[in-house]
């Protein structure tokens, strides 16, 4: 029932909304949470519990409420006591069948003896072969909502991320957090104040007139100070060097935003959480904490029940009695726990009907309010080094400030009690000290000590009840765990799963420890506690994944590719044309006429300086000292373990000027590699490295008519084979563009020129080549055709025909590697590889049935059926009209003419013979020298 307007209410009575709960329409006001709206209409049950499917209602009426987790539309696990109502919201209960009111799985409770502590560990161990069936059954019992298969952007708005560098970050926007933030901001420090609720104020929001007045004043001071306030946001973790993760929710068009903040100082002021009490029936709908009823009445003007019994051990509990009476609830009895009062059991399953107190007293009621103590949510402090210590006088844990990292300071209820004035004075001093440690001020601020109120130790009564409301773990389960030897909190936690549910120990940890302490005859301090780890609050995977940002690279010729039907191929960071519809015809064009290939992604490093030859001699396995100006050479790089790392050609453009190319995927790694040798091993060498991969657009013009075509577009380069021979380089103008580099190389096996033109003119030159060569039959050629051409020529691809174990001599590089060179990277291992022999080798395989193209990765087997290698590259060759493939084979089978068997994926075997040469087309290399 909705009450008359309350002084501190947050609902907007002028805004009438409606939502649907399990199909039925309910009214709501602006500012209502899902639970406050439903409770105002008299609903009491919002979920079924995890194991026994017991009906559950409001317990804390806050984000942590374990009984108020629902499905909203296709968003699962929404905290219904926190999420604000939006018009037309579709809300359903989770994991209930056929309905919330009548849930079949509630029968679990009748077979409760089958679900004791450690049930899964005990029951599903043997026989192991049955685990798949167990898993299928257990999955049906998993708790939680239904995940949508659709990307979240479509329904929720994007996930997002942000970096922030405030001087001071204050976690918690209650009175202490607000005072600390204001005090820090007044020193000139930039301050970020993060509050989990929808508004600043903490417990003052549901307090009395004096509290509300204090809150209004604090809010004014926050508004006046330059503080960045984030509400509906929570600090989920504190990591090394004060990296602080904040999840911000409920923004317009952004569902959740992960803020990675790096404050100089972190002030931790989360306040205190009220602790549930353990007794029989303590999870019945209608049993609530005092803060829950105060929130329902004062924030949402909701009458939480008709007849109430209150168990109070503190002034906040007494204040709840006043609130209840003011709301017109009939408080039939107040049981004072400070004078030995207690609750024996709550009666009623789908809703509280009566309460039994000691001495056989019994009261009919529909609301039982408990106020038995407070828990320090020590999470963030623990992440900063704190080991909280239990104080029996106050019945709660306190931080050990001396263990905290110097850039983390606690304030508010986690360190002590006191009036609002005392708390804000203390927090103000903490805020100033936090700012000083961030560099604002010089003299250390004296932080006053907060008083600590004494509080009776109340954890559980004389009957057994639920300890962990999320995981349905009872105090009886904990005793079972102790009896079976799991008496240490960390073990009992894992054995019973207590503290491992969505509230992550915030409500239940201290009760768990207290029950274990009692069962083992130790004190709470001796028993210790479990470790609080990040995240402090549950984080969605969407928030962690953030917005999908993966930049891709296109060559300057991409508009032409796109307009001419190029099929895209994602190759590392690049998107390249795989083919233009007919790769076989593209191969034919290169073999018979002329083709142009966009090879822009090839890595390019501009090397300058007198010591470039030393660098090349060091990083390549072959010799480089005598490379003349105007010449190009192919080289292979091996790592220090002798494994093939990258390959490419390098040209000498001038006396002290070289252009190195690398594989497309290796461009970044080779640059780092070269820099590593220059910076760490040879800092005295004078070499300057500039990456120019994207400064040039690169076009390979290949085919018997390549010279004719290139001649039509170059202005000042002599192409005559006598002057510009194979493996030479020239610079000049191409299609009117100055500063182009042309080299005559031939990985396709045909006469070819590779043109590197300033990137801005890439498309221009590409189109000029196609325009100028119409009568020559010029054709654009994609990556697939390039791979076929290379394979026909027997050129290995690093990473395809080699892997992480392929030493240089296993890659068919015997002729290239110069072990007589004094030193180069990988020389020692290559020397030993050549001395030892016995290494696998890269060979070409000719299948007897040459119409078969074995899949890449097919195994090669020897006579005895043993695996002796694999196919590394294979394609149908349009030139030879047969399958061609390369493979790695064991040394003893690498001799040309040796027979091996290729085992196909379908189990068939194909006999094959090791060929003489790696190249299947033009092994003598006549064509490319033409």
């Amino acid at each position: 029932m909705r009450l008359d307007p309350q002084a501190g209410e947050v609902i907007d009575r002028a805004a009438a909304l409606s939502l649907r709960w399990n199909g039925r329409a309910y009214p709501a006001h602006g500012g209502d949470t899902i639970v406050s709206a439903l409770a105002a209409s008299g609903e009491r049950v919002f979920s079924r519990s995890f194991k026994y499917h017991r009906p559950r209602g409001v317990l804390t009426a806050a984000f942590t409420d374990p009984g108020c987790i629902v499905q909203v539309g296709d968003e699962p696990n929404v905290r219904a006591a926190h999420r604000l109502v939006e018009e037309g919201m579709q809300v359903r209960s989770q994991d209930t069948w056929p309905s919330l009111r009548f849930d079949v799985k509630a029968a679990n409770e009748l077979v409760g003896r089958f679900l004791p502590a450690g049930f899964y560990y005990k029951t599903f161990i043997a026989p192991q072969r049955l685990w798949p069936s167990y898993e299928r059954v257990l999955r049906r019992f998993s708790h939680g909502g239904v995940v949508s298969p659709h990307p979240p952007q479509e329904r929720l708005g994007a996930y997002d991320s942000r970096h922030a560098h405030p001087d001071v970050l204050v976690a918690g926007g209650g009175p202490a957090g607000m005072a600390a933030a204001v005090a820090a901001a007044e020193t000139g420090a930039s301050v970020m104040l993060v509050e989990e609720e929808h508004a600043l104020g903490g417990h003052l929001r549901w307090g009395d007139k004096a509290d509300l007045a204090a809150l209004a004043e604090l809010r004014q001071r926050v508004d006046a100070a330059s503080v960045e306030v984030l509400t509906d946001a929570v600090v989920v973790g504190r990591y090394d060097h004060n990296e602080v993760a904040v999840v911000q929710r409920g923004l317009a068009h952004v569902h959740e935003r992960l803020i990675k903040a790096r404050p100089k100082t972190l002030v931790v002021a989360p306040g205190l959480l009220e602790r549930p009490y353990v007794f029989a029936g303590n999870d019945a709908p209608g049993v609530m904490l005092s803060t829950a009823v105060r929130r329902l009445i004062n924030l949402y003007a909701v009458k939480p029940g008709q007849r109430a019994v209150v168990l109070s051990a503190n002034p906040q509990g007494d204040a709840a009695v006043c609130d209840l009476e003011r709301a017109g609830v009939d408080v039939v009895h107040v049981e004072d726990a400070r004078r030995g009062g207690d609750v024996v059991r709550a009666i009623g399953r789908s809703g509280l009907r009566a309460v039994e107190l000691p001495g056989g007293r019994r009261f009919d009621c529909d609301l039982l309010v408990t106020a038995v103590g407070w828990t320090n949510p020590a999470s963030l402090l623990t992440m900063a080094g704190d080991v909280p210590a239990y104080d029996p006088r106050a019945a709660r844990y306190f931080p050990d400030v001396s263990r905290l990292s110097g850039d983390v300071l606690p304030a508010g209820g986690v360190v002590g009690d006191g009036t609002v004035d005392e708390l804000t004075a203390h927090a103000g001093a903490v805020g100033r000290e936090a700012a000083r440690r961030a560099g604002f001020g010089t003299t250390a601020v004296r932080v006053p000590k907060l008083p600590v109120d004494s509080h009776p130790e109340l954890f559980h009564g004389r009957t057994h009840g639920i300890v962990d409301f999320c995981e349905d773990v009872s105090s009886k389960d904990l005793l079972t765990a102790v009896a079976e030897g799991y008496s240490v909190p960390e073990l009992a936690k894992r054995y019973t799963t207590a503290t491992m549910g969505p509230t992550q120990g915030k409500l239940e940890t201290v009760n768990v420890v207290a029950i274990l302490a009692e069962a083992t005859g130790r004190t709470i301090a001796q028993t210790g506690t479990t470790t609080w780890r990040p995240p402090y609050a549950p984080v969605t995977l969407g928030a962690l994944a953030g917005r999908h940002r993966e930049p891709v690279r296109y060559s300057p010729m991409q508009p032409w590719h796109a307009a001419h039907g190029a099929v895209p191929l994602v190759a590392g960071a690049w998107v390249r044309p795989d083919h233009y519809g007919d790769p076989a015809a593209e191969v034919g064009a290169v073999r018979e006429r002329v083709g142009i290939i966009d090879v822009t992604p090839i890595g390019k490093l501009d090397l300058r300086g007198p010591d470039v030859p030393s660098l090349l001699n060091l990083v390549y396995v072959n010799r480089w000292s005598k490379l003349a100006v105007g010449r190009v050479r192919y080289g292979v790089m091996c790592a220090e373990d002798g494994v093939v790392f990258d390959d490419g050609v390098t040209a000498r453009l001038g006396d002290e000027h070289y252009l190195m190319t690398t594989t497309s995927s290796g461009a970044a790694a080779v640059w780092e590699w070269v820099e590593s040798w220059l910076q760490t091993e040879h800092p005295s060498w004078r070499v300057h490295v500039t990456p120019v991969t994207t400064s040039y657009a690169s076009i390979n013009v290949a085919g018997p008519r390549a010279r004719e075509l290139v001649a039509r577009v170059v202005d000042d380069v002599e192409l005559d084979p006598e002057t510009f021979g194979y493996m030479q380089v020239r610079t000049g103008r191409v299609a009117g563009v100055a500063g182009c580099v042309l080299w005559r190389i031939g990985f396709t096996g045909e006469l070819s020129y590779e043109l590197h033109v300033p990137a801005g003119y890439g498309l221009h030159v590409w189109e000029r080549l196609l325009g100028a060569g119409g009568d020559l039959g010029v054709r654009a050629v994609g990556i697939e055709a390039q791979r076929i051409l290379r394979l026909e020529k027997g050129h290995l691809i690093v990473g395809q025909d080699t892997d992480g174990l392929t030493g240089g001599f296993s890659a068919g590089l015997d002729g290239l590697i110069r072990l007589d060179k004094l030193d180069f990277v990988g020389r020692s291992e290559l020397l030993w590889q050549s001395q030892d022999g016995g290494h696998p080798r890269l060979v070409r395989l000719v299948l007897r049935n040459d119409t078969v193209v074995p899949d890449e990765g097919c195994q090669l087997v020897g006579r005895g059926g043993e695996v002796c290698g694999r196919v590394t590259s294979s394609r149908w060759s349009p030139t030879l009209r047969c399958g061609i493939c390369l493979g790695q084979v064991a040394a003893r089978l690498a001799t040309p003419g040796t027979e091996v068997t290729v085992r196909l994926p379908d189990g068939r075997s194909e006999p094959a013979v090791v060929a003489e040469n790696l190249a299947a087309v033009d092994p003598e290399g006549v064509r490319l020298r033409g």
């Binding site: 060097h241 990296e243 790096r262 220090e640 780092e672 590593s676 910076q679 091993e681 020389r827």
Partner: protein, 82 residues
Amino acid sequence: MILLPCPWCGHRDAGEFRYVGEGTRRPDPETATRQQWRDYLYLRANVAGWTTERWYHRMGCRRYLSLRRNTLTNEVAIGDGP
């Protein structure tokens, strides 16, 4: 993510760097035995405490740097190379 003090760029998030590894010395390839060479390639002390390690500031100045780091506490100090 820890902060690393780059001598050129100041304190930067470790995500900007590539962790190269514990500082090692390349043995003289002319005289190194196989054992010495493979120790250089594969053996690391993996100290629980202060260690010297190399990082590459790939998203910053692109310099390789040596740092001293306490692997237990992630305290970091600018230190000499190995």
